[in-house]
């Protein structure tokens, strides 16, 4: 698949020259927007599957108590305000005068109904329970006031609530996912209503004129799904669609010069990183061996000097420029500049192969060692090319590096079983602040408390764990940010992982449109405006 896609891009580039002479795309007809997304939503049930394409579509139809702005900072949605009235109780004031698509009024009853419905969704492969489980009690004070009691201190409750679409209690007990797909239960407070749904092909949306917020410009939206990169770009160039998401990086240099297309980009919350297996620090590593292929008695990757050398050996600027075609930003931490809990003086580690080689010698590996770097080849933008580049850079400091790109379904299962020694993955920081990666990736794996759930390297640093846990229990936003920054710094100084770059999200559109580019990758028709 990866191969095919790459050759397809080559073909498309070859033909790009011809295309320049083509017809000039006309303006959007009437008040209709045709857009194409790259990944197909799997259901219209907003609580069935916590999956980016589903959530992005649900944002059009449903509303949440808290909304996230383009920079992933919480802002009032269906709740006008929220504040903790004690350590465990939050009080939310709801927006008055909001109506659901069926005309019923939005009240506190709907909050109770929604939070009770989330755990009852049948066969969910990825439930929203994650965000609602913390709430142990819902108390309706009056129609526009609700109190939520949590089992533990949950400072990020507003952010969790931003993920949960509110449904009208008039839907009755346990509406099925099918009734959402059949448009019977698809009733929200969002700026659009669904008028037709054809799974894997298109969704038709019509403007909800009773929407409480800013009225979207487009009366109708054709929401099409075109997963194939070249097909999506061609559809934009041919004028069949007005707007596309996830512009492929291989087309970027051509499209930047093309007058028929305007681009909007934002630095994403998704960072790419390298992780090192720490379950075999005493030897027996499957993909690390001595310079002559002999087994090593201890894991070189357990030595922070080795990890630091591996990080210094990587020329992040070159990867960003040449492999990612500028669609990324080099980084030395989880988040990009401007985000909450970004650490100002934590610059990307400088590229210094000489120093890296010295550091390796100092750690006792003057002749390096053999290592295999694994990664997916069909999951992230240019994933296979990036690991090849890293492999070459490591070879330059004297490591005999092999690179092994594997299809995602097989890769992720093996990574979760600790079958690799060094591997490449990416992580989307959906909350927009550092507690999310710290908790899931860096904290010691602890199934009973839900820590380290994606810590596939089984990295463990008890001192750091303590800081993370302390930070996560602070309700005050500013005080929490200070501790999270400290934890980020500790993780990076110990090279718990090698962070490489933040991706950029890129949208392409006709030149007479503009888009408020978002850090969280979501594509929103209601954030597309005429350029003037």
């Amino acid at each position: 698949m990866g191969k095919t896609r790459k050759s397809a891009h080559l073909a498309w580039l070859a033909a790009g020259g011809l295309a320049l002479a083509g017809a000039v795309a006309g303006p959007a007809v009437g008040q209709t927007l045709t857009l194409a997304v790259a990944a197909s939503p799997t259901s219209l049930d907003p609580h069935y599957h916590n999956l980016a394409p589903n959530n992005s579509l649900a944002d059009h139809i449903f509303g949440a108590l808290v909304e996230m702005d383009a920079n992933t900072r919480p802002e009032p949605g269906l709740a006008l305000s929220w504040k903790p009235i004690s350590d465990l109780v939050w009080e939310l004031k709801l927006r008055p005068g909001v109506k659901f698509h069926d005309g019923s009024a939005f009240t506190a009853e709907d909050i109770a109904y929604t939070l009770a419905r989330v755990p009852t969704v049948k066969n969910s492969p990825g439930s929203f329970l994650l965000y609602t489980r913390g709430v142990t009690k819902v108390e309706v004070v009056d129609p526009l006031t609700v109190r939520l009691t949590t089992g533990a201190v949950t400072p990020l409750l507003p952010i969790d609530l931003s993920q949960v679409a509110i449904l009208p209690h008039g839907l009755g007990p346990e509406p099925t996912s099918e009734s959402f797909n059949a448009l019977k239960s698809t009733i929200g407070t969002g700026p659009y209503r669904v008028t037709a749904y054809n799974s894997g092909d298109r969704v038709e949306l019509a403007r909800n004129d009773a929407y409480w917020g800013e009225k979207p410009h487009w009366e109708k939206v054709h929401y099409r799904m075109i997963p194939n990169d070249s097909a999506r770009t061609s559809a934009l160039l041919a004028g069949d669609v007005d707007f596309i998401e996830a512009v492929p990086t291989s087309d970027l240099s051509t499209l930047r010069k093309d007058k028929r297309v305007a681009l909007a980009e934002a630095v994403s919350l998704r960072f790419a990183y390298l992780f090192f297996d720490r379950t075999r620090d005493g030897g027996g590593m499957p993909f690390v061996s001595g310079p002559d292929g002999e087994a090593l008695a201890k894991n070189p990757l357990a030595d922070v000097r080795v990890r630091r050398a591996l990080s210094m050996a990587i020329n992040r600027a070159a990867i960003v420029d040449r492999v990612m075609e500028g669609a990324a930003v080099a980084t030395g931490q989880f988040l990009a500049k401007g985000s909450t809990s970004y650490v100002d003086d934590l610059a990307p580690p400088a590229y210094d192969p000489e120093a890296a080689r010295k550091l390796l010698a100092e750690a006792g590996y003057p002749r390096g060692f053999r290592i295999t770097l694994q990664g997916p080849n069909d999951r992230y933008v240019n994933d296979e090319k990036v690991i090849q580049a890293v492999g070459q850079m490591w070879t330059r400091i004297g490591l005999q590096t092999k690179v092994d790109a594997i299809t995602w379904p097989s890769f992720i299962g093996r990574a979760s079983k600790q079958e690799f020694s060094a591997f490449f993955v990416a992580w989307g920081v959906s909350s927009g602040e550092a507690s999310n990666p710290l908790r899931a990736l860096i904290h010691t794996f602890d199934a009973s408390r839900g820590f380290g759930s994606a810590n596939r390297a089984r990295y463990s640093n008890p001192a750091l764990d303590a800081v993370i846990e302390r930070g996560m229990a602070i309700t005050d936003d500013a005080a929490r940010e200070v501790v999270l920054k400290q934890a980020t710094r500790m993780a990076m100084e110990d090279v718990a992982m090698i962070t490489l770059y933040q991706q950029k999200n890129i949208w392409g559109m006709k030149p007479d449109l503009r888009y408020v580019a978002r850090a969280d990758e979501a594509t929103h028709a209601f954030a597309v405006y005429p350029a003037k």
């Binding site: 066969n123 997963p227 041919a238």
Partner: protein, 324 residues
């Protein structure tokens, strides 16, 4: 005839059973659907809940046994991804693929046979050589590349045809079809041609080879000597004799086009079954994979049956019992 049909039926059941076992074991070896489907942020408790919700906590043999019990009652399971019955999902996507594949087959017969006859009857003419040369390109160029070139030329550059999608559809027998509307036909033209290209070349070459082989035969000489018109000799006698290999190949190709139209479907964003199966394999959506492959097995069995019956019509010497 009845014993022949019965034997075929029993064979089909065994093929299907073997196929389901292979899929169950295969998917299990590739990876864990929960790893792929679950939100990356899910904690360990949520992961455990999802495993139970999808029934993946049970041992594999028990999962298979449950599947068999359901299958006997006509329930092939629910998609892990869509939370809808797998059969319903496939049925929703089938019309799009069917109309695309059948149009492609129609094209390959309507274009391939006449060109093949021409090339066979006039092998040394410039036209005949050109047709043969072009046919080599037809089956040797990769279809995704041709698809992209078609889009670049006819959609992006000339703007004659829409680049992707199914266009406007109209209802017939409760199903939405593209071939009933002008817009739908315009959308279908490029993908159908793209899908047909390899088969046009194949049918063309088979026809030509058949004509070249049959022309020097005694029955043709005899027909000519009898004073039949050249048209009657070619279109009735020769054509009938060369049709058997063509029917076999076209029959198999119908199945192939329906089952494996995936490249064309993804290049043209055609919402058919091919896209569904590839997406399902990527996320290890086992119920859909199993249901899809079972349906394809049935499809091939039915097509082979029809092809065998057609042989007896084309060549009365063929007996079904002896063809086993």
């Amino acid at each position: 005839m009845t014993t022949w049909m019965l034997r075929r039926l029993i064979q089909a059941v065994f093929v299907m059973l073997a196929m389901t076992v292979i899929v169950f074991i295969g998917v299990n070896v590739i990876g864990d659907p929960v790893e792929i489907l679950i939100s990356p942020e899910a904690d360990q408790a949520e992961r455990a809940r999802a495993v139970i919700a999808l029934g993946l906590d049970k041992p594999l043999w028990e999962q298979y046994w449950r599947f068999l019990l359901g299958a006997v009652q006509g329930d092939l399971g629910r998609s892990f991804v869509f939370n809808e019955p797998a059969l319903k999902l496939i049925a929703q996507r089938m019309p799009a693929t069917l109309e695309l594949a059948l149009t492609a087959v129609l094209m390959s017969v309507v274009i391939g046979i006449p060109l093949g006859l021409y090339a066979g009857l006039k092998p040394d003419s410039i036209g005949g050589r050109l047709v043969m040369g072009a046919s080599i390109l037809g089956f040797s160029l990769p279809s995704f590349w041709i698809g992209l070139m078609l889009i670049m030329v006819f959609a992006v550059q000339l703007g004659w045809l829409p680049s992707t999608g199914r266009g406007q559809t109209a209802e017939l027998f409760g199903v939405q079809w593209s071939f009933l509307t002008r817009d739908g036909l315009a959308h279908m033209a490029m993908p159908a041609f793209n899908l047909a290209l390899g088969n046009i070349a194949l049918v063309l070459r088979l026809t030509r080879a058949g004509v070249r082989e049959n022309l020097p035969m005694d029955y043709v000489k005899f027909a000519r000597a009898k004073g039949l018109s050249p048209n009657r000799v070619v279109f009735v006698h020769v054509l009938k004799n060369i049709l058997i290999p063509i029917v076999t190949v076209v029959g198999l190709e119908i199945g192939g086009l329906i089952a494996f139209a995936v490249v064309t479907e993804s290049v043209f964003a055609w919402p058919g079954m091919g896209k569904l199966i590839i997406d399902s394999i990527n996320v290890l959506d086992r119920p859909v994979i199993v249901a899809y492959l079972m349906m394809i097995v049935v499809l091939f069995i039915v097509i082979n049956l029809l092809v065998d019956l057609l042989y007896t019509v084309l060549d009365p010497r063929v007996r079904l019992e002896t063809r086993e």
